[in-house]
């Protein structure tokens, strides 16, 4: 009996024939090669390049620059602080306004109010649109001849008031447009999480006389811990990654600079500047915190 068990075990351990070993190494090797060569090596190269002067043409032109690029960014590039401010606004707005609104909507729609299925779909629609389309759609709303212009009393194209280039309001306008998509996205994620919360928990809280807000804060919110983390991470990462919408609305004019755009304008085109690499590294450093936070939450069970 024991011998059969032992032989099964050895047979299983020997189960890797040469063919199997080859298959396994291909299964792992090809995707890993692609991922490492396409993502990680360039990422590390960017970090290296951020300490050099280079116009992006031939390798022999690379000159060591030390911290000069960073020095330029911090001391001689006012755009950097504008971009940092805009990314921060974006983050604050998403964290304190758009994301809570998405959660609130999810919470209310989850209570199966009349027509909740329809509302769900309505709020999801912007989530499936590309930011390029979203940018264009909002130009129709806010640009010359747009609906909002007409509602404000400037229906003629020539008399249109500037909205995207009005520095008093354009930050709110951009963030409002971005929220159009973000709120639906957060609602979608939260609604899925809420559906997995045991409804009897809420009923019990209601019978005990808890108010709506108490039920949410004390019962639902703690039960949603993993989803909460994901939502925080998505909020932060999306705020840092912002690019498409700004490109569609402002092009490369940096009319409303953000870090992602500063990387692009410094590298794209004929003459590249490694200031762009340094901007990318700054963006990366800011992203590390949410990335690590995410990995820790998601892989907690595996590591422990």
């Amino acid at each position: 009996m024991t011998t059969t068990a032992a032989s099964t075990k050895t047979r299983r351990r020997r189960a890797f024939t040469r063919g199997d070993k080859f298959t396994l190494s291909m299964f792992l090797g090809v995707p890993t090669f692609l991922h490492v060569v396409w993502v990680w090596i360039p990422a590390i190269a960017t970090i290296g390049l951020s300490f050099t002067y280079w116009n992006g043409v031939s390798l022999s032109n690379i000159r060591w620059a030390g911290l000069a690029n960073y020095d330029t960014i911090f001391t001689a590039a006012p755009q950097f602080y504008d971009a940092l401010r805009n990314n921060t606004y974006w983050l604050l707005w998403f964290t304190f306004i758009a994301t809570p609104l998405g959660v609130l909507l999810a919470y209310q729609i989850d209570r199966k109010i009349r027509g909740s299925k329809i509302y769900e779909s309505v709020y999801y629609i912007p989530v499936v649109l590309s930011l390029a389309v979203i940018g264009i759609i909002w130009k129709f709303m806010l640009g010359p001849g747009g609906l909002v212009q007409a509602l404000l009393g400037y229906p003629e194209i020539e008399r249109a008031i500037p909205i995207f280039s009005n520095y008093d309001i354009n930050t709110y306008v951009i963030l409002g447009i971005a929220s159009w998509r973000h709120i639906g996205y957060i609602m979608l994620l939260y609604l899925a999480g809420l559906k997995s919360v045991d409804p009897s928990l809420r009923e019990a809280a209601a019978i005990d006389g808890a108010t709506e807000w108490q039920t949410f804060r004390k019962v639902v919110f703690p039960a949603m811990k993993p989803v909460n983390t994901i939502i925080i991470v998505i909020t932060v990462i999306e705020s840092l990654r912002a690019f498409d919408l700004i490109y569609i609305i402002y092009g490369t004019s940096t009319g409303w600079p953000i870090l992602g755009m500063l990387v692009f304008v410094n590298i794209y085109g004929q003459a590249a500047s490694m200031l762009g690499a340094a901007y990318a590294v700054i963006l990366f450093l800011l992203s590390i915190i949410p990335i690590v936070f995410y990995l820790r939450t998601v892989f907690k069970d595996d590591v422990a």
Binding site: H35, V36, W38, V128
Partner: protein, 294 residues
Amino acid sequence: MSGIVQDKKYRDRQKRKDFFITVFIAIFAFIWMVPLLWTFFTSLRPYSDVIQNGVFSKPSSIGIQNYINAYDRMEIWEYLSNSFIVAIPAVVLTLFFGSLMAFVVTRYSFKFNLYLLLLFTAGNLLPVQLVYAPLFKMYIWIGELFGNRNLLYDSFIGLILVHVALQMGFATFVMSSYMKTIPKEISESALLDGASVFRHYWNVILPLLRPPLAALSVLMTTWIYNEFFWAIVLIKSDSKRPITSALGRLQGEFVTDFNLLAAGAIMAALPTLIIFFILKRQFVSGLTLGSTKG
């Protein structure tokens, strides 16, 4: 007795509150739809109307003329097919590689499994701008090495490979979380039957992965279709552009005729809207598989 009265009062108050919330959500939902409806309305009327009579004028004619023009003058169809030429192979490859990785990482206990999974997931979350400059250079050099400058740069292959390399992390993560819920015994019986690694993957595991594969393919098709950054950075020829990045250029060229542009934007949005309305369940579960861990 008083308990029941209180209960009724409570329920009445709740009902009233629910009514207000419903009204509020309905109004909000209407506002949500306005931008899209307005764009649609704009796309149905001729530009001359707006010029002559202003934005709120009654349209002199409603029709699909702008769509026909967009089709003819903007070559929307060509850009749309470019998008799918990129998105479909990219999704298939991403899911294929992702399923291979997830299979090995969850069915065999190599020491490096967790680190690989971490590497892939982290790679998926990096800001794309960090990868941009060296990858761009690498594409040009590889092209020169093989004597064809447009082997990867300004080519569909190059764009597809970037999408695969970046999205693989998410696919691997989602499928490996799903596979952890498949009992190990299924694999063990396959191994005892003497199945090779390939048969174990192809005949035993892959059929079981159908739900996450369906969900991910819907989600990733919309993601890659909507992707913008790599499409403007890696594609130079206008004829090879996917629709999203082409819109960026078209809005500059047709800035004076925004009813035409509206038609173009609606046509660009249509594929993802159709996918969403037909396969909403897959779309939602694709997103939530990744966020709630199985």
